[in-house]
Symmetry: D4
Subunit: 252 residues, 8 copies
């Protein structure tokens, strides 16, 4: 039941053309869920201020294109398409404006310059983690966060990380991306006092069991202020980092 309908019903009650019992029966059976849907949906749209996000994996290029165009028709821009392979990206090229980066397999459709605010640092253990890092970084950027990249600062060469302590110290949020033993999250967590989002990656071999070693390591990290997202979930980290980065100040 949309607001117009509700208004119309109440006016009928007011005018006497619809009785109270009839109106109540109407209201009682009106799918509140749709109201709920509208309300929540509306809230989402308003509150998030962010473009919509599509999980590209498991959707055809045609499906992706259709959804993007539908969203754009409603005014959406900076629409993120995650986990879209190069083939699908090529198929969509020219259909609508789109920036695509094959490294994180991420596209931004109907890209628009928006002001980038705050400071999200994306730190990574090794060069193999860069696809996940870029998924995080470009997600946060598309949603309006300024991002600083600190790649290849793994803990086995601590000096590389220590030389960037000042950069870390100025961050509002740090995303620590690491595979193998995933120790970066703990070390970074001990160096900064802002929230740290740890992203385990499936980089490695043998007893890393598809990222399990980094995941467990990060969950058990001894530094406070660190939380963890799913293995290789760069998008999730970037999305959450932007959300935290964009926070308004607390009031007493």
């Amino acid at each position: 039941m949309e607001e117009r309908e509700l208004e119309h019903l109440l006016r009928q009650v007011q005018e006497g053309s619809v009785g109270v019992e009839e109106a109540m029966a109407h209201l009682r059976t009106a799918p509140f869920e749709d109201l709920g849907y509208a309300r929540v949906d509306h809230h989402r749209a308003i509150r998030q201020g962010a473009g919509e996000v599509l999980f590209g994996q498991g959707k055809t290029a045609e499906q992706i294109g259709g959804i993007v165009e539908a969203l754009a028709a409603k005014g959406a821009y900076n629409i993120l398409i995650t986990r879209m392979n190069e083939e699908k990206a090529a198929a969509l090229e020219g259909r609508f404006p789109m920036r695509y980066d094959p490294v994180p397999r991420l596209a931004v459709a109907y890209p628009r310059e928006i002001p980038l605010v705050g400071s999200v640092v994306v730190a990574s253990g090794g060069t193999s983690d860069i696809p996940v890092c870029e998924e995080a970084a470009q997600t946060a950027e598309a949603l309006g966060s300024q991002v600083i990249r600190l790649y290849d600062v793994g803990v086995a060469g601590l000096h590389r990380l220590l030389s960037k302590v000042d950069t870390l110290a100025r961050a509002r949020v740090v995303i620590a991306v690491a595979g193998m033993e995933g120790a970066l999250a703990s070390v970074v967590g001990g160096l900064v006092d802002c929230p740290v989002i740890a992203v385990p990656t499936s980089v490695g071999y043998g007893a890393n069991f598809g990222g399990l070693s980094a995941l467990l390591s990060m969950l058990n990290g001894c530094a406070s202020g660190v939380s963890v997202v799913n293995i290789d979930n760069g998008f999730g980290a970037g999305f959450l980092a932007n959300r935290i980065n964009q926070m308004k100040g607390v009031e007493a």
Copy 2:
């Protein structure tokens, strides 16, 4: 090398009593680690603004007491002692001012009223999760966050959670605590647009494998904006929630 020593050395260079080469040799071999130690340590002290935290498990009452008193001697207050059983709490009673709650096995030593700001909601699936919830809630409170408790709003009775949507919507951070299937985190994540910290608990039996089911569920949650801490890690969630809650507003 402390600052006094450095000043002394430079003065000697200025005065000509120490040559440049000699000074360089001195500086080169000066243990930068100690400088680093001091600097970082100092930063921690200043930045965190929070009371110190002691992990009580695996420490004797005597050790805990000693550390707390040493911290208090340096001016610390609202010192959190986590995972301390009732026996140790009893042993410490009367030695210094301390508030102890046996449910989360948490103490606040040298408690002091501090203004509580912002809004952290702690939501839980069932009554058995309350010890973990309280560890999270009381940690955040001891660090200065205002906390609202929404207990027993598990997803199997969705109406309980939905009746609190407004409370959730006003939160700056939500901590979702759940054992068994851990679905609460996803459902809450879909209802709010603030950061959600998910805490899997070991509550359950059989194929929950000590909290693994809730942990995996939360890591794989399909709602954006959710991150996860270790199983039963109420303290970690409360600490991080306070950190996010206390954030200053972003500047463009």
Copy 3:
């Protein structure tokens, strides 16, 4: 917003004492969740027709007693209390009418004779599975199902099971309870054409890993018509079995 309030509001609109805009504002902000709560809750009460269920583990005797009395005050009877140890049962003795069986650690508070209908067969592999079997059987009985027990009919002595084929064939639902290799579910599933609910138990040692062997076995069973509940979850099986057993006939 309860119906009375809604009726009152509509009457005010009808009478003109409240304007359409004001009424709409009221309706828009009225917590639909509470309506939802009431509705769903009401439905649960009406539809299930079953007594309430309390998970006794992790609750004190005092808490259990309080909840039971509150439910009874609203007219509930045959209230199931699961996983309650003997100590708590003893503490509650005499406080209200209650039947308690220490084997499945199950109580029925305010017990009342109700007609038992249909046919639920509970079959078990070995005598050690009996506590789980009884939890299932007594749950189904308390909810109104007639239950037939076929214990100790494990597959290593097939003749024991085969001698009961007729009993199995007349069941409306079969609950197959087995630990160790959990093969009973598949074998039973191949013998009957009614729904089979498989309950893996943690009975065994070594590579059964707390019931994992039976759980995986049952999930991979090659007989159609079998589904699985959590390890040792006799209650869940009994509850579901009763629900299926009580089904009304399908209409074309």
Copy 4:
């Protein structure tokens, strides 16, 4: 020993052409197993009323074709072939009447219109779960159940699910299909009072470990009335749902 043979033997005893001892020797050595085979087999055919089912995976097109034709020769129709890839389906095209859907990789050979009764709802968390959903839905349909599809009603957008509460409430059985965190089963389980069959899917990545996260989540679900089948086992869920849906009413 078929009935004709038995009758013939008894007539010979009656006529005196075969003595009692000879008949007993005959009966004693008659392979009761074959009688058993026939009987059970016969019962299966009669009781299930359903077409036969072939697990297509691991069989050649030639083997599948042979078995289907043999079954059809005995009068079977609506013969389900599960997990058959497009290549094999193409190889069989034209050999006999067959409806094939590449999404669930499911075929119905010798399809025949049968009346669809009752109501099975297939609800899914996301669009990637659709192949498993369709395997469930088309299985149930081929066996005679009326199926309603509620796709993409995952818990991260609760309003989508809540807007369908009435549809759920009218179901005789609900199949809840979900990957990732698998929370759909619990949420649905809390909304309805009919049996719910949960199907975990392998959809996801990282710490979902091939469907393990959804599987454990569903097994640990806190809603009563839910049971679980193997990961991606749409067929199993559809088969069982039909069996429950087709149940006759219980008698007191």
Copy 5:
């Protein structure tokens, strides 16, 4: 239906007092399962020649005593009771003749001297494995096998094992019992040409995960002629070893 009944029925047919149709109806509904039961059961009794076995764990002393006496009443002797703790053994003392060894928690009720034949070697890696070894050894002895014990011949001190090569070479079956890395089974398997039964034990700590390390090691062993039983399943190994040891010679 027992043979007498069948004979009676056939005689009635012969005499004409029962018609063919009536006899067929009788035969058709006669519970073949009971025939099956009797037959199989009888076979077990005759073929195994071995005393009965009771799994003592999870049974009360009273239950154990009752079963043992019932078996003895039917003439059984050398009745094995496995996994019975000292408390239960003490409770049964004096009730009937029984030999009890607390190390393997094994009793032989109504013990009787029987000739010990063949040769079963039980080899173990370390002294901590001895309880499992003794369960195997005493089981095989109670069933009639001659057993030679080679304890503490683990692979880290290869000379200890090599000094017993001749003993191993003369065995008809070897039981290799080892915890930790379980390498004994492979090494023994390479030294002998008789069947080797490997028993992983839960002895160890850390990454042995309750015997998993030895179990996997033994399953992956590169020596041919080795098979594995459950972790700590000394009884199973002893039972199978006796069965192999007692085999009659093959005929061409």
Copy 6:
């Protein structure tokens, strides 16, 4: 040191051309391992009476060919080559006499008719298990055992297995091959009184985790007299079954 050398040395001592100390130094440093090697190796050759076995996987056709020819040059025949794909088999065709079966990927080089003795039954749960079954069966046959195949007698259709009880009862060894829930081993174990070798297969999907479900099921089986080999290890089962089948009779 070969025997000739030893004899020569001793003769030199006898003749006085080599002193005792010199001889001792020689003997002390003589690599006893080589003697050991020869001895053990010789024993293997003599005792096993079986052709040699090559694990073909991971070896090139050229390597396999070379080893086979070297063995044949020493008189070996019926040389088993396991896990050799069709490509390698084709590359070796014509080089020497060889029988190859692509189903179990097994070859017998220099095949020779040998008398087949005893009775090994290979029983399987489903048709997908046949490659593993054939690896077991053809291995046992190549080593001299008579093999009876009972395929597709899975426990979900018990009548198929029960109709073959007599065949099972006459076996000297049974190999039970099954994937999915692996229940066949327990059921067979309860029907026979000869040794049963259980082979879990990786056939299945979802929560079978590459054969883990069948493996755990078989290890936890409640029937005595069953042992287990590695997942899909048909060769190991066939080799061991032949070893048991060929046993000479025990002597008192």
Copy 7:
């Protein structure tokens, strides 16, 4: 066959009292294993120079006492007894000279001052890891290594570790002991260029799964020069560290 016997035999051959064939038969059947035993055993004694080691867990105080005295009778000293609880230690007190430390549950029987050489650094993440650290440290000391303890230098407070870089740099071997995320091993491995032995501990809770998180982390560490021992295996690390520390210099 001991050397005396061999010499005697050769002399007999020399003297002609024993023929060549007879001598060969003797030598051929002489149990080479015993020679092997003696040789290897002797080598062990000579080469290791270290006291014997007893794994105290699973042995009675009486057994431990007996073995220690037997070893001492042969001249052994500094005999290590690992994993011996306080009760057993108390039972042995006064029986022979022994130093016992309850923290690592480690005793040194017949202690003797030996020169401590080289430099083994034992570094630990937290205070809860100290029992494992002390097992490592005291083991290395008892075997003759000089040990430096760096406790509580976990990576979450990097300054603590960095302030000890010089100490680490002078070590010949570093033992890195850490639970939880086990990151210490990688960080230390990046700071030093000597061998690093990583010891995961079971310290932690939740998703550390008894030390699995630290174990996997350490195995996947990205620093070269690190190897790992079993969870909580302080003894193993200390033993190996001493072995490496005591190495003689390499020759070109």
Copy 8:
């Protein structure tokens, strides 16, 4: 801050053109990390004496080529490139001097003859382990260690290993490489008294779970002096073995 800058600053202080306070401010804010970086880096270069190592997997041929040339420009030689497939090796051919072995997928760029010292033995269980063995062996050789290869000495044919005891006894370090049950490490560990580095490999099938069986086996090995690296990590073992092999002698 480089040394030149520091010298310049001090000269300015000496000359009076910069005051002490100004210099201190400068030094205080000078990024000590860069000094740290230089120092540590420098130390690494000097101490390790080894060529640099590149992990080739996940880098393009172009990236590898660039890094190698940059290193060579600074004087590096014997630069190891690990896990580089043949395609990339072919792409780099001719660009600079490089030795490539496709078996371990290992290249040495700018190869130079260096003296090989000490003795590292690489022992392997089977021929399939050779790629991992060669990665270990060629790594150690490139870094300056003399390597002896003992391949195919698995424990199922103990004589092969025992015939090489002397070779093992002369090693300064042994690398034991084995898949499947990984028993080689324990057996070798019991035969030698030098450090043993165990490398589990993923060779095997079924319940080896990608190398897990060998890994757990090696971690639980009962021989002292053994430590473990990641599954298939030949490089790590070779690197560590060289480090230990090259050790200088301990001083009292």
